[in-house]
Amino acid sequence: MSTVTRKFNALDFIIGSGWQVRRARRKFFSKMFAHLVLIAGAIIFVFPLLWLVSTSLKPDTQIFKVPPELIPRPIMWENYTRMWRHFPFLMFLKNTVLVVVLSMAGVLISAPLVAYAFARLRWPGRNFLFMILLGTMMLPGQVTMIPLYILFNKWGWVDTFYPLWVPAWFGGGAFNIFLIRQFLMTIPKELEESAVIDGASHFKIYWKIMLPLINPVLTTVAIFQFMGAWNDFMGPLIYINDQSKYTLSLGLRMFQQQTSASQTEFGMLMAATTIMVIPVIIFFFLGQKRFIEGVIITGMKA
């Protein structure tokens, strides 16, 4: 088709009237139109984030200005430094990082093990248990939420970080296991057969052959888990009471309640919100390709 469209020059394109020209012109204009719509849409989608950063750098007087201004004048970096002092943000950040790191470690260690068992080993009940695993993806969290709370309460785990990361060490969630299993299924069988004939144990095959090969999908899982743990709100809300153990999401919500009551310090609130958003965006950009692959696999479920 492209050879056909290249048969005329620019002048033909403007004043010509043959069917090829008409067709090329129509294609050109429909693409221009698509660009226009896409640009307009992109502005709408990105604007709230711009507005967030812009507000976080404004002095209070400019924040409440009518009509609003996009460019902060003067740029108030003080919103960030003041927020840091005014608010135990560093402590919340430390708590969040603790939960995020421990739960990521749990997922990255346990999920590939389980996925390997489902993808590469034959054992009685495997297919049945895999169906159950898929079934748990459909289960709304509210069904298990209350008994889990009662259980953790009996164990003395309420108001500790344990409920937020220990479960991640037990397989790391159905989505992650499913994702790694799908990846493992694509690795040719011959690779381990020769190792089995050489007398290598399954542990050795897993450690020496499989783990290095599944690195890409582990990156995906790591990003998923980072975002899940970083963004989690209901978990900390239910289990954490003491303010010194708040995660960022709980802290941000507390801060918001304070500012909306006083109608001041919006700049600081938006600075705190920006701090919460930035790591997610950075992680997304670092692993964009793998991350999107993972979203697509779990989103289409093939």
């Binding site: 992109a42 409440f64 289960l139 889990l148 609130l269 997610v280 964009q288």
Partner: protein, 297 residues
């Protein structure tokens, strides 16, 4: 020889259980046991401090007579009915535009996708500011258009639509998936349709939609399940108000469990939610026979 292979099969089976054991133990402890316990609790009166008391189906009967339960269910249905289709339509529209073999697709894709990964608490705080009835940027934009802006989150009529508008900001999440689905449609199908003189619209109806229907179907199911569990936005932005207009199902469930400590009652609510979601999923599977097209190739 047979002995050796038997031994190897056994070794493999044992290894299999060992490898799967973290999930098996986790499943029993953190999923299977809670499911069973939840069913039992739903027939009990239990406030954590005192020993649970068996009350039969009283919780379920109370639910039927609970005005707030029906209100929260209604609010949630409103949210689901508008949020799920609108999210799909917007996500699909962007994906269709991007699939037009357009330059800079990677940039557009990133820009549209980014809002969908913003932490929900953060976007709730941000959108509370955007919806601010006096100084919010949306309020101002509507004024610029010469219209009278509503009070958004403080107006019982507008609170739910406001939360839906905010949720549509994340429509890029679906877009990524539709885009991948569109790329999987063989070009030859479109070429064949063009030879038959099919218009753009007819190609969309007769090629794109059927070929994309499994993806749309899966997204519809996941969207329904997700939207029925809407919680964080309402909790952070409106606290269920104004006038209980954003008191969603899971928010009411949360209140029963962790504010009123009615664990049995909340468990019953969880099961009703589960049944509703399962019924809708089942219904969708039944209806899917009429519109979802699975290419056998």
């Amino acid at each position: 020889m047979r002995l050796i292979s038997n031994r190897m099969a056994r070794r493999e089976a044992i290894t299999g259980y060992i490898f799967a054991s973290p999930w098996i133990i986790g499943f029993v402890l953190f999923t299977a046991y809670p499911i069973v316990a939840s069913i039992i609790y739903s027939f009990m009166d239990y406030n954590i401090l005192e020993t649970p008391r068996w009350i039969g189906i009283k919780n379920y009967i109370d639910l039927i007579n609970d005005r707030t339960f029906w209100l929260s269910l209604g609010n949630t249905c409103y949210y689901v009915i508008f949020n799920v289709p609108l999210n799909m339509i917007i996500g699909l529209s962007i994906a269709l535009l991007l699939s037009m073999d357009i330059k800079g697709i990677a940039v557009y894709r990133t820009l549209y996708y980014m809002p969908s990964i913003v932490p929900l608490v953060a976007s709730s705080v941000l959108w509370s500011w955007i919806f601010n009835p006096n100084f919010g940027i949306l309020t101002h934009t509507v004024r610029l258009l010469g219209l009278t802006p509503p009070a958004w989150l403080s107006d019982p009529k507008w609170a739910k639509p406001s939360l839906i508008i905010m949720s549509l900001w994340g429509a890029g999440g679906g877009m990524i998936i539709y885009l991948a689905g569109l790329k999987n449609i063989p070009r030859t199908y479109y070429e064949a349709a063009e030879l038959d003189g099919a218009s753009v619209w007819r190609k969309f109806i007769h090629v794109t939609l059927p070929m994309l229907s499994p993806t749309l179907f899966f997204q519809l199911i996941m969207g329904l399940i997700g939207s029925f569990q809407v919680f964080t936005q309402a909790f952070v932005m409106t606290g269920g108000g104004p006038n209980e207009s954003t008191l969603f199902y899971v928010l009411y469930l949360y209140r029963n469990a962790f504010q009123f400590w009615k664990m049995g009652y909340a468990s019953a609510m969880a099961w009703v939610l589960f049944v509703i979601i399962m019924f809708l999923t089942w219904l969708n599977f039944v209806i899917s026979k009429y519109w979802v097209f699975y290419d056998q190739a």
